[in-house]
């Protein structure tokens, strides 16, 4: 999940009887699957939680461009390079759709950027892992985009209209991302011994960080209940994580690769796999900023923002000059 630990400001879930008429009307709309639009009345906690969640999701799309962008100039063929470029360009678009959705809630784009750069807002832990080899680009498309899709598909039905519409657009574009990643993995896994080792190594390094993308286990997921009542969270973290494992293990088998989990076993009774939890201490460390690439990612965003300032200002000045000239000519 691109939004992993979103603090909800609601204080326990109220029943309809406990609500004031305005809030009750709002909750009844949510319960009836009627979308909430930007100018409709909404509880302050709903608005704040959504800004956090959508903002975190948007930042993840943008920061997520960095580990993949790292390989654009080094892609093994011109075709792979064009595909990767198109994929990374899509992610920029996803960031934009989500920032626009968050802006309808009364926060500005620049405010959100500043909050990312000051560390006040987070992005997904997964992008704090480095992409060391070309096989990592395959693993990222296959596993990271795969996990993102798992989370984004249900969010198409989320209660907030602008968020839901952004998710629908994004989901349309995501399946290409996962398929191009798996395509790279197939090539590597069926290639030379060295390529196969690279593919296995990429799976080894990205398996647990991908499982972490769904956020902490339900037992430690304190803010879920209110978000679920508001329908800005549709499934529990563990539910999505299980679904992801069940879907991904056969795909790894097809590649002839081994999931790095000795305890992994099919459980006939529950109709799903038993699998090991990721190291949650590592997860919380990465969220706090101690992951292998946290520093580089934020530095790259800061540099882009600071070095781009004169371009943004220059274009604003140029637009103003043109506007004044036009007024003068009238």
């Amino acid at each position: 999940m691109y939004a992993q630990m979103v603090k909800s400001t609601g204080t326990g879930v109220k029943s309809l009887d406990e609500m004031e008429p305005e809030e009750r009307a709002f909750q009844e709309k949510v319960d009836a699957d009627i979308r909430i639009e930007a100018r409709d009345w909404m509880p302050e906690g709903y608005r704040k939680t959504l800004i956090r969640q959508i903002g975190q999701h948007a930042h993840s799309e943008i920061v997520g461009q960095l580990p993949e962008g790292n390989w654009i100039t080094r892609a093994p063929t011109l075709e792979r390079k064009m595909i990767l470029l198109a994929k990374v360009q899509d992610e920029a678009g996803h960031g934009l759709y989500l920032y626009s959705a968050a802006e309808t809630l009364g926060v500005t784009r620049d405010e959100m950027t500043e909050m990312l750069l000051s560390g006040k807002m987070k992005y997904s832990s997964i992008f704090n892992y480095p992409t060391l080899t070309w096989a990592d680009i395959g693993a990222v498309g296959w596993l990271v985009d795969g996990a993102a899709i798992m989370n984004q598909v249900p969010l198409q039905r989320t209660s907030y209209g602008p968020y839901s519409r952004a998710m629908i657009r994004i989901c349309k574009e995501e399946s290409f991302h996962q398929r191009q990643g798996y395509d790279i993995m197939m090539k590597m896994a069926k290639g030379s011994e060295a390529q196969k080792r690279m593919a296995q190594d990429a799976l080894n390094r990205f398996w647990y960080p991908s499982l972490m993308m769904f956020g902490p286990s339900d037992a430690n997921s304190v803010h879920s209940e209110q978000s679920m009542a508001w329908k800005i969270k549709i499934n529990s973290n563990d539910e999505l994580r299980r679904k992801f494992v069940d879907q991904t293990v056969p795909q790894a088998e097809y590649l002839g690769l081994t999931v790095p989990d000795d305890t992994l076993a099919w459980n006939e009774e529950k109709g799903g796999y038993d699998f090991a939890e990721p190291d949650w201490d590592e997860f919380f460390d990465v969220l706090k900023g101690a992951g292998p690439a946290n520093h580089d990612r934020l530095e790259a965003r800061k540099t882009a923002w600071d070095d781009g300032a004169w371009v943004r200002d220059g274009l604003t000045a140029h637009a103003e000059k043109k506007r004044t000239a036009k007024v003068a000519a009238e």
């Binding site: 639009e37 100018r39 759709y97 802006e103 620049d110 657009r169 274009l315 637009a319």
Partner: protein, 94 residues
């Protein structure tokens, strides 16, 4: 902090013969740049044959609270629909 670029709403005509539809929004310094950016963001997969951009601040909208007075009066005017009228079968399609 620099001044933020204004927000533009983007409308795309998907195919010849259809109307423009709202697809999303973006920030740009002026309308010309908004069109260029809209092309890059919203028509990467053949989604359009024409783009309109409108500064979001220039849009006037109905308020959610006015929904009743504005839209409810038409609910009772069922005679505005063709199915209100019973025309005998012998007349054929009308």
């Amino acid at each position: 902090m620099s001044k933020e670029w204004p927000l533009y709403e983007i409308f795309i005509r998907g195919q010849h013969g259809l109307s423009h539809r709202h697809v999303g929004s973006l920030h740009a310094p002026d309308a010309e740049t908004a069109i260029k950016n809209a092309r890059d963001v919203y028509t990467r997969r053949n989604e359009g044959v024409s783009i309109w951009v409108v500064e979001a601040a220039a849009i006037t909208a109905t308020a959610p609270g006015d929904k009743g007075p504005i839209f409810e009066p038409s609910e009772s005017k069922i005679y505005r629909h063709p199915t209100f009228y019973d025309i005998p079968d012998e007349i054929g399609h009308m």
